[in-house]
Every structure is written in C-alpha cells, then in structure tokens.
Subunit: 596 residues, 2 copies
C-alpha cells in the first residue's frame, strides 16, 4: 500500500538555506525565539504523526468513504479517522500556528506550512477536516466580535471543534452574488437563517463535538448581487455563555455527494431551517470577511496538491527502482537480473523528474509565501508588512492554480510509471490522481484564479505588484549574470522576465480595447508567471547547490540536477503558453454559440 | 445523466468530403458497391443503437461494476449489459466489417471505424467485450489453421462468442520476453497450457456462451526471451468437431481487479491449469502473430479516447449553454437572465474548443488510417497496398498515443467546464476522465508507442515512411501556398513540416552516438508528429470549408473556426515539444539513481 516519508531534508533546505527563516524570524517579535532546533524538532514530530497515524488511513479511507444516515442526518467518517483526529488534538497539532491568546502555540505560518504538506501527502481527505477549521479560525480572529472570539476561538484552536465555510448554493458557485439564503434579524440580536448550501466540505462528521459553520446569507434589506451578502456564524450546537454545548441548531446535512475522489471527506448538502446565527463583521460585507478564509483556503489547496505531488513521486520512485522490465537502450545496467529496473529508461526518468521538480518548486514557492505571510502579520515595519502583503496577494492565485495544475500532471505521470498497475486501486496511485483533480476546481476554479491574477492583482494596479517582484528577479539576474556557472539558470530566467513584462503590457493594451482579452489570455498567462517564479526559485536553489558541490552531502548534487531538468524540460512550456496567451480572443469568441 | 448524439454530420464530412471514400471504394473490388447511401444508412442505424441501447448503460455500469463469484469463478456484468449484447449480435453489428466467407457483412474498415467511435462514445467499458473479439478475429483469420478458422471464426463474426488476448503476467507487461506460461505438446497435436495471466480484459463474463482466449506461452524447447513465445487458441469451453460446445477447459478467472475506471469491463486474472490449446501460426513466432491483434487493438484504443473526447465535449457544451454564472467581461450577453450562460466566457470557450478540435482532428486521423487499412487489404495494385501499409504502420502509434493523450486533456477540460459539479459522480463527467486514463497505458504504454514510432517506424528505415507522408504534405503546401485565404493554415503547416524533418535528422544523428537519445526524445517527438498530422488534416478540412462558405449549411463556418482555433491554441504546443525533444538525454540520465 505504498509509503510516505516526510521530505525533511528538502524542507530543511528550503527553510534554512533557501529562505533562511531563523534570520527572518529575528525581525519578527512574535517569533524571535524560533530557531533551527525548534523548527527541526517540529518537522520530525510532524513526520512521525503523519507517517504513522494518517498515511495508513489514506487508502482505506478512500475505499470506505463516508456514510450518511438519512434518519439521524449523521455522517460517519472512515474507520480510524476519529481516533486519528483525537491524537491530532491531543498532540496540540491544531494549535500549532495559532495565537497563544486563544491557546495556540504561536509558531510561524511558515513552519505550519511544512506540517501541512506532510498532512496532505499522508491523507488529503482527512486533512480537510482540520484544514478548514484553521481558515475559520483566521476569519473569526480577524472579523469576529469579542463574544464570538471568546466562545469559539479556543475550541477551534484546540481542535475540539471544527469549522466549515458555507458559500455555494446549487445555482451559484463562482457567482456568489446570486445566492439566496436568507437571514432574518431577531430581537435578541441573533439571526434566523434559512437556505440550502451544497459542496460543504466537512459539513457534517463524527470527529468533533461541535462544528462551527461560517455561512453566507442575505439580510432582508440587502442590495442585490455580491454587495448584499453577509457572513454569519452558525454552530451545529448552540453554545452557552459558559462555553458548554446547548441545543442542536437548525442546520443539518441533507445528503453527501459521491465524488471522483477525496471519498473520505464528507461533501455535504447543508440545509438551514431557521438556524440561529450571529453576524460576523459588517452587514452586507460578508464577502470581504470571507476572503480572509478564502485566501487561506486557496493556499491550503495549493498545499494539497504539493502534498500529493510529493507522495506520488516517492511511490513512483520506489516502483521504478524495483520493477524490472526491458533492457536499457544503451546496454544492460543490471546484467545480473533478467531485465533492468525501469528507472534506467529515459522516459521513466522524465516522468519521475517532472514530479520531483514540481514538488521541489512547489515547496519553495509555498514556503516562500508562508514566510511572507509571517512578515505581513508580524513585522514591526509597516512598509515591510505592505510589501509582503503585496507578494502574498500576487502569489496566492499562482500557488492555487499553478501548483494544482502541476499536481494533476505530476500524479498522472507518477501513476504512468506503474504501467497497468497504476490503474489498479490496490497500488494506491490512481487515488492520488483522483484526489488531485478536485484541487483545480474548488476554492475558485483555476480559471477564476487566473482572472484574479491577471485582472485584479496585475492589471488593476497597473502591474505594480508584479513589477516589485520583478525587481527582485532583475537584481538577482544582474548579481549573477557574470557568474559562468550560473548562466544556464540566469539566462533563461532573465529572458522569461523580459517576456513576461512585454506580454503583460501587450495584454493590458488589448484589454483596454476589449475586456474579453483578459479572459482569453488569463489561463496561459498565469502559468507563464508561475514558471517565472519557479525559474527564479530554481535559479536561487541552484546557486546554493553550486556553492556546496564539494560537500559530502550528495543532496546538493541532486538539487542541481533537478534545477537543470526543470530548465531543460519544464520551462519550455513557456514557449507554448506565451503563444497561446498572445493569440487573442477572436479564436475563442468569433464563432456563434449556435455553431458549436 | 447526460446525453450522446452521434456526430453523423461530421462523420459524413470526414468520409464523403475529406476522404471521398465512395470514390476510393471504386478502386477496391470488395467495396465497389458501397456508396454514400449505404454509408449514411449504417451511420444512422449505428447512431440509434449506440444512443438508445448502450449510452443509457454507461453510467449505471460504472456505478455497479462487474462482480466475481469466487465459488463458481463466474463474472457477472452490470445490469443490461447482456441484453444489450444480445441486441448487438442480433442486429448483425459484430459482423459489420468481417469477411462474408465467415458470415460477415463485408463492409469496409473505414465504415466500421465510425461505428466504433459511436460505440466508445456511448460506452467504452461495454465496447471492450466485442472490441477484443474483433482483434481475435483478425488474428485468427491471418494466422489460424483451416480447422481453427472453420470452428471459431463464424462464431466470432456473429458475436456469439467473444475473444481475448492473454499476454501480460504479473512480472511482465511491456517485456513479454520474460513470460513464463508453459505449453506442453500432447500426442494428439494439442497443447496443455499452464500459467497465470493478469489484466485480461473481458477474460470472463456472462455475455456470450463461449470465450476464445488467445494465449502466449512457451514451448518446452523455446529459446529464451521474446523469440521463444508461441501463440495458442484456448477456448473457455472445448469445441466439438460439429461446432457444439464440449467440456469446460482448464482456464478460469481467479479474481477481477478494482480499477480507477472502466468498472463495467472485467479485468481478469486468468489461471491456466493444463488448459487444452491449439497452436496459432508457427512455434516461437507467437509475438509476430499477436502483432496483428495488437495493432488492431492499438487503433481500437485510439478510438476509445476519440469516443470519450466527443461525448465529453457534447455534454460540456450542453452545460455551458445552460449554466448561468457571472457576466461576460465585455458586458451582459443575456440581460434578461440574472447572469450569462458560461459559454460567453473566453476560457470556457477555450476548454470546449480544445475538446472539439481534438475530437474533429482525431476523427479525421482515425478515419484516414481506417481507409488506408481498406486499401492495404483490398487494393489490386501491390504498390498501393505497400504504400498504404507504410502509412498504417507510421500512424498507428500516433493514433494510439496522441489521441489518448488528447483524450485525457479533453475529458479533463470538459469536466472542468462543470466546475464543482464535474467532480460529482451523478453528473457523469468524472467517469469520462477515469475511463480515458487507461487508454494511455494499455496495449503498450504511450512511451512504448513513442519508441515504436521514433525507433522502429522512423529511424529503422531511415525515415522512408515519414518522408513518403511528408511528400504529400509538401505537395499540399505547394499547391495551396499562393492561395491567400489558405495561408493562415498552410504557413504553419509548412513550417512544422520543415521542423520535423530537421528534428528527426538531429535525433537520428545523436542516436547514432547514444541510443538513449531515442528514449529521451521519443515522447515529445511523437506529439510533434501528431501535430504535423493534425495540421495537415485541419488545413485540408479548412480548404473544403472555405470553398463552402457561401453554403446555407453553417457547418462549414464552424469547421473553419475550429481549424483556426486549432492553429491558434493547440498547434503552439509544438514550440514546447520541439525544445523538449531537442534537450537531449543528459538532463534525464546524468543523475545517479541513488540521488533521486
């Protein structure tokens, strides 16, 4: 049933050598005492928990799935899930990156991030239960009333309660402006909420004693569209002033969905029938408040695909070393065996290295953005916070869309390494592909992400955020341009940087004439920028690796090879993407709908 | 549960206008009387059968799957499968393209091909039962003894019995040279065969009264490796001289696999325990005989993905016209509704057109190769037969790998059009993605296909087959080069032709130094050549469409748009692929295995 070993060495490389987080933490008052030892210790403990407790439940959870009992409206999670969750809560894992004010351990987001990669590698479906709680925690912490914070945050932090986000309705997913759920104000200041939600991940389950639903609904006097949506806190069980559980609230699961993957996570239809809720944030400003949650969730989805990419790679690698089939075209490599291990075949290498490079690039990117979040939230200098916030905004859609697209490619390639066995459930590889597929869809489809990047994050501020990030790249290119050993990395990086600038200006000009040009270019554009970021990070990692080629630690040789593979085999996608992004909207829109 | 309408208009365009088959058939004695009326009638009847009988069983078959009873070793297919098969046999569909000498209807392969597209669009898992029979028929017809033909062909032709190919063993799939199943000669001229096979599609089921297994095994005096493999006919039930069924033979299903998709097709472990078989063809020449079957199967797999591409496209299109969500960036297109149908959004168009173009290109390619098979088998002029055989050999791995890779992309894009609903089983889209995935693996993985194309079909004859096909392209480019309205198609076609020539020579030279260069380039190379073929065919189709722009039939306008989309959005992949194919083997092989 496969294996998972947390890639601690590479995580350490990224945190300590690529990002030098301990130095960064010295500038962040909350984290000044977080040194390399603490980081390494958390990584090791996290590895133990995920490898030993969660990974063994991944395949069985997929086969068993969740069960819904229509009579009691209860959802039963697969065998072992509840017990694993208890261990997670008792181990204090839920509280890792939460505020000590509410019982959290106060560790940095950038460390929690590595732990989340492990969680997702070992069991994406399981991880979605606590994963959504963390988003609810962040949203409440920023927008909740003191009362809400006092009653709910400590339990979300400890993990005793979990959270959900209730946005989608059957007729609206992307277009939340159309949502119909209603909230009637009551005399006591609460609201009675009625409506029907779909696709609510972890909406009902048996892992925690209460579930904190964050629900979007309309007040009676709400303006139409997305400006008339408010956010409410609707607990499964009412909570008394002393924190004890009260009555069952009028929100219940009506059914769970049969899905392509993530079978072990309950995807619920939630019916609200006069459920009691309290307002979070301002009336009609629910979407803005929810965006805190959604941005966290988008990064979380990127982490899911990073996790799947890594575990799929690891398993494919084991198989490729073990499975013997055919001889190498350049002569036997294992003459003592009846055939060579398939890892000798160039195309098997290509598939493995694709997954490996996507995992390592994704790890660098998500760790980088997590550190920027730490700076955004904790740096004493407002300018630094603002700059970090700009990068987080710019990179969030890239983490979500680029990494999940890559995860789809990587898991599929890793499965292909197995040949026919990859398609057979018991080998475990096809689950990774099925699980990976949802990540391109939920929390805003990858098309929505690309529009967010190109339309909102780049064109709306005339490219300021992109330019700021581009300046860093330019500085790196100039700094290393004369170093001959770096030219194989710096030259393509510099070229791509210039092409992105040109492409952005070109699309911006066209969009001025015709807004559809944004929609026509956005998806390939996002991937081009994703490659620019990967190129920049791989070049930096190659630089570190080059400086350590004399080391006994062969890790640096491997890192250098992976960077070379990236530039030789994955970077060339930009040649396609730029042509597509430049091809304009006419090839998409000129044909009448009736002619399809 | 979705819909399927056989794309008869486009099939007619391909057969009558693009290929002009009726004219071609006049040169083929066996088919001289097959005119457009007959063709259209078969297409219409085929559409009825597949739309009304098979398509309604596709989703239910996936949900139900096959069941294996360990006590009786029997496999039960999903509800309705048996009855549909009875209708298929009674309708004479199994016999469509079979030789009248054995009860066949003697229709051309190129017509059967269109019917197979419909079968696969409506139900790939079901189609694999009769689909494999046809391959067994072709193999027996070419290599069987008179006795074998007399006893088995009429029943395979009528469809009363089905066929399988029993190649793979647990330790060898691609590398059949390692297979261990043994055949002991008996005094009566038969053989007793023992061994264990895996991944035998339709190896056991309840749809026909007998199953004809074609089994690879080793004779006692067999040389080692792939030159010591013989092919045997092993029926499930022995067949008496009068054609009646005799005793149960010693071949039985041991288990069926749980898979990612094609749940309704039984993937069997088959155990042979002294099963009685008769030799097909020469001793130790089993692989050559099997290649007839395998080549047919490879084309069949391409048809599977073409079918899935088409049906996924159709459903995504219906959804995209119906689902309203957000406004067009360039202003409301359906102001009377609360939002616009999502087909107004450029990126939804991109996804739809990707599937549409891959379907139409795939249809042109598979129909073209089917016609070449008709010529190869029936043309009175040996030169023509030889030329046709060369094209069939060249294009077979492209049909298998290029169309199945495209099918994976297309079904995934079509699913993405549905947003979250695409991931939910009841909408039917995720099944297409899961079913499509196996097609990249079985009958020789797509890597194996690429090695077959580049190594065997191109480099081994110094590019003669590719050059012959390239001459046709060159002639077309020259003929249309001065036609301004054609330049948007002819220019990129001509450029790609030249690039393929250069690329082939370059790889050939490198391979001379290092055979691993073939393996390092093969996969992207195959896709480049696939695009060359698609470019050639889309340019030809565009030419026909251009000549009919004054027609009332808006079909030609749509065809022209689709060709334009292809060149603007899909053809640019060649810019990436050529870079990848040229990047050499070092980026794959330089890293030591231990460093992965």
């Amino acid at each position: 049933m496969g294996q998972y070993v947390a890639p601690i060495r590479d995580m350490q490389f990224v945190l300590h050598e690529f990002l030098n987080v301990s130095e960064e933490f010295k500038n962040l008052p909350a984290y000044q005492e977080i040194d390399a030892d603490i980081i390494n210790q958390v990584l090791e403990e996290g590895a133990k928990f995920t490898q030993e407790v969660l990974f063994p439940l991944n395949h069985s959870g997929d086969r068993e799935g969740c069960h819904f009992d229509a009579a009691t409206k209860a959802v039963t999670t697969p065998k072992g899930f509840k017990e694993a969750y208890k261990q997670y809560v008792e181990g204090g894992w839920a509280a890792l990156a939460c505020d000590p004010e509410y019982g959290g351990q106060g560790l940095p987001v950038s460390l929690n991030n590595s732990f989340y990669e492990m969680l997702n590698s070992s069991n994406q479906a399981w991880t979605m239960y606590p994963g959504l709680s963390h988003g609810a925690y962040e949203c409440l912490k920023e927008h909740g009333t003191d009362e809400q914070k006092k009653l709910f945050l400590p339990k979300l932090v400890s993990g005793e309660w979990t959270g959900t986000m209730c946005l989608t309705e059957a007729h609206c997913g992307t277009d939340l402006g159309m949502l119909r759920s209603k909230a009637e104000p009551q005399l006591d200041g609460t609201y009675k909420i009625s409506g029907s939600k779909i696709f609510i991940s972890a909406g009902e389950h048996d892992m925690s004693e209460n579930i904190v639903h964050l629900v979007l609904a309309r007040l009676p006097d709400a303006p139409e569209g997305s400006k008339g949506i408010s956010l409410f806190l609707v607990p499964k069980f009412m909570v008394n002033a002393d924190g004890s559980l009260g009555e069952r609230n009028g929100i219940a699961c009506g059914a769970i969905e049969e899905k392509m993957g993530i079978h072990a996570n309950s995807t619920c239809q939630m019916n609200l029938d006069g459920a009691v809720g309290t307002l979070i944030g301002q009336p009609h400003k629910g979407l803005q408040a929810m965006f805190v949650f959604m941005n966290a969730a988008r990064l979380g989805v990127g982490m899911q695909s990073l996790g799947l990419t890594e575990v799929a790679y690891q398993n494919a690698l084991v198989y490729a070393k073990d499975r013997i089939q055919m001889r190498s075209l350049s002569g036997p490599k294992a003459p003592d065996k009846p055939a060579d291990p398939i890892i000798v075949h160039p195309d098997v290498r290509r598939m493995l290295l694709t997954a490996k490079a996507f995992a390592e690039g994704g790890r660098a990117l998500t760790s980088y953005i997590a550190l920027q979040i730490d700076r955004e939230l904790n740096h004493p200098d407002e300018e630094v916070r603002k700059e970090a916030a700009g990068e987080v905004a710019l990179l969030t859609p890239i983490v979500k869309a680029f990494i999940t697209d890559n995860g789809w490619i990587a898991t599929s390639e890793a499965m292909q390494v197995y040949g026919g066995h990859g398609y057979i459930s018991e080998w475990g590889m096809e689950q990774y592909v099925r699980d990976a597929r949802i990540n391109m869809i939920y929390e805003g489809t990858n098309t929505v992400q690309s529009l967010d990047l190109l339309g909102r994050k780049i064109l709306m501020d005339n490219g300021a955020k992109l330019r700021a990030f581009g300046e860093k790249i330019k500085a790196f290119v100039e700094e290393n341009g004369l170093d001959e050993s770096m030219s194989e990395f710096v030259t393509p990086l510099g070229e791509l940087g210039e092409k992105v600038t040109k492409l952005t200006m070109e699309i911006g000009m066209k969009a001025f004439q015709n807004p559809d040009e944004v929609g026509a270019a956005a998806v390939p554009y996002l991937r081009v920028v994703g490659h620019l970021v990967f190129s920049y990070f791989f070049a930096q990692m190659a630089k570190i690796a080059l400086s350590k080629q004399d080391s006994d630690d062969k890790f640096y040789v491997a890192k250098l090879h992976t960077a070379r593979f990236y530039f030789a085999r994955l970077y060339p996608e930009t040649a396609m993407l730029i042509r597509q992004a430049r091809s304009g909207s006419a090839n998409l829109l000129a044909m009448d709908v009736e002619l399809f």
